[in-house]
């Protein structure tokens, strides 16, 4: 019986393989004959996801582009199409939603409740809401494939992993595409997925893996600030060359719902043509528009509690946060208004009486948001960081200093040498920070004129202090949808139809090796950082390290400490550092390799050297290569939550 069974499965496997192969053939045939029809850009945002596409067949000089309206549940039983898919998952109790109320146009019962419905239901039941999964992907010390979200959910709630959540958002977008464009197989189109510039190699690899798991094997990754710049270039319809010149340094500031992402792009000359080089990216800063709404709500709450003498319940604060967000937008949109009344209505069916009323004034708004988040500080200021109070192991590492301008100042100061190797960029000798000459904004927060102006004022005050000309703001970007649009346009650019930003890896990478020093009793062995991948490694290149040989024990996992530097550009492969400042090198999660014992004896020591490659997808791959027979083993990034790191 078991034999029969085994036989059967084998046959099934063969059939599957065949059908897969024939599918691949079909896809290839299609590609050969006409190439992919669309270039699809997916912005997997912390709070919203957007899918945009360019019709490659119809686009020539004019790009034909659209944003796909994503069908999604907005409440039990109600489906609506929206341009943005909120990146939330709600894990309902089995008795919470009746059968058939969660149907989508393409399925009777989706695996997860994704989108507007999740955000709506989760507002009232936060213990079942998965939010900010993307920030968890880049959170050191957490195993992203372990079911840990919602982080503050009780044990009874069946949790999901940050990786699964990313998969679910992608799956929803893929399903929506298949439903809306059944003739254009998404697996046969060009697909670009955006990631924060600050994502580490492990987070990039996880994103690429999630894409592969929903059938997007061909998807490539693109950094969000680059994508925003592509979108701006596309929007200018060829006019962008008149707005930037050789020698310009473009600062991209992307303040989204949950994160702030910074990048610097230098404009150089290449045989008479403008060339764009992404020269630096910032750290992963968990600070965004949601923090602003919360800050407003807590300020108003304090005012209300002082007036009424009663403490506000959690639902009242939540309702206040919503009201504050709307009031903020109204005040920012209409400079004539001085204050907006806020009402927190009773939850019961009697509406009149029992409602709390207060107001948000323009002064408060300016005080809290403009002064609180964009303070006027000298460029020498650093973000304030306090030692973490205990019991934070399961939370996200939110930025401690809300002053975005301080984070920006620290970034520009740290990257003062970012353009040293470019002949076209001339920085004055006395410059204490990298002088941007143009600024591009992205993210919903900067739609507010007041905030955008303040940010420009602060940047220009730094420039003026060093007698540099003011930076100019690059106009005409769609701050909400630019990242997805830019990603779709990037697919078009890759066909050789527009200017491409030169990027490569945004950091140099190192493994920690014990230095050959005599051991000192009572002291841990000194560690040296060995550079295995230099800064700016381009897609499709590989760098090997044949001279540094490690002995790996077959069958036993071996771990390396792993470091990244966003500022050491001069290090070549094989450079050993025995000293570095905390600013220069940032420790990432450990990497791990296990040599399988097939064909070898367990316990045998195999001499290997390391090799780093940047794939076409845009992820970093590390291999151990046997010195004996050239056999290769992949080194895994995703070994988070190791005993030491947590």
């Amino acid at each position: 019986m078991s034999e029969l069974f085994g036989h059967d499965t084998n046959q099934d496997g063969a059939d599957n393989n065949q059908s897969l192969e024939s599918q691949n053939h079909d896809a290839e045939a299609q590609m050969d004959s006409e190439g992919p029809r669309y270039s699809v850009g997916i912005d997997l945002g912390t709070t919203h996801s957007v899918l945009s596409y360019v019709d490659l067949h119809q686009s020539d000089d004019d790009v034909v582009q659209d944003v796909m309206a994503v069908p999604q549940l907005i409440a039990p039983g109600e489906v609506e199409e929206r341009e943005q898919l909120p990146s939330f998952i709600y894990l309902p109790h089995e008795a919470e939603i009746s059968e058939g109320e969660t149907a989508l146009p393409w399925t009777d019962k989706p695996d997860f409740l994704v989108g507007e419905i999740a955000r709506n239901l989760g507002g009232k039941t936060p213990i079942r809401l998965v939010a900010s999964a993307k920030s968890w992907l880049c959170h050191a010390g957490v195993d992203c494939k372990q079911a840990i979200l919602p982080a503050d959910g009780p044990d009874e709630v069946e949790k999901v992993s940050p990786f699964q959540a990313t998969q679910a958002y992608l799956q929803h977008l893929v399903d929506a595409w298949v439903y809306k464009y059944p003739d254009a197989d998404l697996a046969a189109q060009d697909v670009t997925i955006t990631v924060p510039a600050s994502f580490d190699p492990a987070a990039r690899e996880l994103t690429a893996e999630a894409a592969r798991s929903v059938g997007l094997n061909q998807a490539i990754l693109l950094e969000e600030p680059q994508s925003a710049l592509y979108s701006w270039i596309e929007n200018s319809e060829g006019d962008w060359r008149n707005h930037v010149n050789v020698g310009d340094i473009i600062l991209v500031v992307d303040i989204g719902g949950g994160t702030t992402d910074l990048s610097l792009i230098a404009v150089t000359d290449q045989d008479g043509n403008l060339e764009l080089n992404r020269v630096a990216v910032g750290d992963h800063i968990l600070l965004g528009g949601d923090n602003m709404d919360l800050a407003l709500a807590y300020a108003v709450k304090a005012k209300l509690e002082k007036d009424s003498g009663k403490r506000l319940a959690a639902w009242q604060i939540q309702s206040l946060t919503h009201a504050c967000r709307d009031a903020k937008e109204q005040l920012f949109n209409d400079p004539e208004l001085d204050n907006i009344p806020l009402v927190v209505a009773n939850r019961g069916s009697s509406l009149i009486g029992g409602s709390l009323r207060t107001e948000l004034t323009r002064d408060e708004l300016n005080q809290i948001l403009v002064e609180g988040f964009l303070p006027e500080v000298p460029v020498s200021e650093k973000p304030i960081s306090r030692p973490r109070s205990g019991l934070r192991s399961q939370g996200l590492p939110y930025a401690q200093d809300a002053g975005i301008t301080r984070h920006l100042a620290a970034f520009l100061t740290k990257q003062v040498a970012a353009t040293d190797e470019l002949d076209d960029i001339k920085l004055p000798e006395h410059a204490s920070f990298l002088h941007p000459s143009a600024v591009l904004f992205n993210g919903g927060v900067l739609k507010a004129q007041v905030l955008a102006e303040r940010l420009m004022t602060v940047i220009n005050s730094w420039l003026q202090a060093e007698q540099a000309p003011d930076a100019r703001l690059l106009q005409g970007a769609d701050l909400d949808l630019a990242v997805a649009r830019g990603a779709a346009y990037y697919g078009f650019v890759r066909k050789g139809k527009g200017v491409r930003i030169k990027g490569g890896t945004a950091a140099s990478y190192y493994v920690g090796v014990e230095s050959a020093m005599p051991a000192v009793p009572g002291m841990p062995p000194e560690i040296e950082a060995l550079c295995i991948a230099p800064f700016g490694m381009e897609e499709g290149t590989e760098e090997a390290l044949p001279d540094d040989v490690f002995g790996l024990v077959v069958g036993e996992p071996v771990r390396f400490r792993f470091f990244a530097s966003k500022s050491r550009r001069e290090d070549k492969v094989g450079t050993r550092l025995d000293f570095w400042t905390e600013d220069e090198l940032e420790e990432l999660d450990e990497i791990e390799i296990t040599l399988p014992d097939e064909g070898r004896k367990a316990g045998e020591v195999v001499p290997v050297h390391l090799s780093a490659a940047v794939t076409e997808v845009g992820t970093l791959e590390l291999h151990a290569v046997s010195q004996q027979d050239g056999q290769r083993w992949k080194i895994e990034f995703d070994v988070r939550a190791g005993e030491e790191s947590s």
Partner: protein, 225 residues
């Protein structure tokens, strides 16, 4: 006395004998007969009532004077049909009135309740409260209604002139778009004062509903655990 039948309900028959077969067959047969009878009654009733309905409608259309018939619902169906047959001449085309889809209306109510607490507000006894309290609640309602309308409807004014200005309507103006009032005499072109500029929905979309969704529940009761 050892022939006495003892009753033990916990016992189960271990053999399936002829008597059991007969018993089962009888049960199935009776059930079948019952269903058949019920079905035939149901179908007969349906047919009758449909005929009666048709007859009644035709009569109402043809001769409004005989409305009295409508009240005599108890009259045997055949009779009414006979009467209809007696009516001379071809029946005129029935006027088709569009039926408003109740689901869209319920959906809109649901959205207004969810975002604007519309039903809650309408059900309040406003006379009990002062203007200040009503004003506070009105803000909630206004804000929410605005959100619902803005999200689901695109609106445009029908006339772009400022209200109160003089407008001239040429011959053949669309009387559905423009309603004349007051001293309506003579022939177009008409000249008058624009009282209200009018609204037109240029575009709208409502959420789609899953098959099992009950739009009559415009706000579920909420229980916090």
């Amino acid at each position: 006395m050892n022939n006495v039948y003892s009753i033990d309900l916990s016992l189960r028959p271990t053999t399936f004998d002829l008597w059991h077969v007969c018993l089962a067959a009888t049960v199935v047969l009776l059930a079948f007969i019952l269903i058949a009878v019920l079905l035939s009654v149901l179908i007969g009733h349906r047919r009758c009532s449909r005929k009666a309905e048709q007859a009644r409608q035709q009569m109402v259309e043809n001769e409004p004077e005989t409305r009295v018939v409508e009240k005599i619902v108890e009259v045997p169906v055949e009779k009414i049909v006979e009467k209809v047959v007696e009516v001379p001449g071809p029946a005129p085309e029935p006027v088709v009135l569009k039926e408003a889809t109740p689901e869209a209306a319920l959906q809109l109510l649901g959205m207004l309740q969810k975002e604007a607490r519309f039903i809650d507000f309408i059900h309040e006894d406003v006379s009990q409260y002062g203007d200040a309290d009503v004003g506070v609640a009105a803000r909630v309602v206004h804000e929410g209604c605005k959100k619902v309308i803005d999200e689901h409807f695109s609106l445009a004014t029908i006339r772009q002139e400022t209200e109160g200005s003089k407008v001239t309507l040429a011959e053949g103006f669309n009387s559905a778009e423009i309603r004349l009032t007051g001293n309506i005499v003579g022939q177009p072109p008409f000249t008058g004062t624009l009282i209200h500029k009018g609204w037109r929905v240029t575009e709208f979309h409502l959420p789609k509903l899953t098959e099992k969704h009950d739009p009559k529940i415009i706000a579920p009761a909420e229980v916090e655990l």
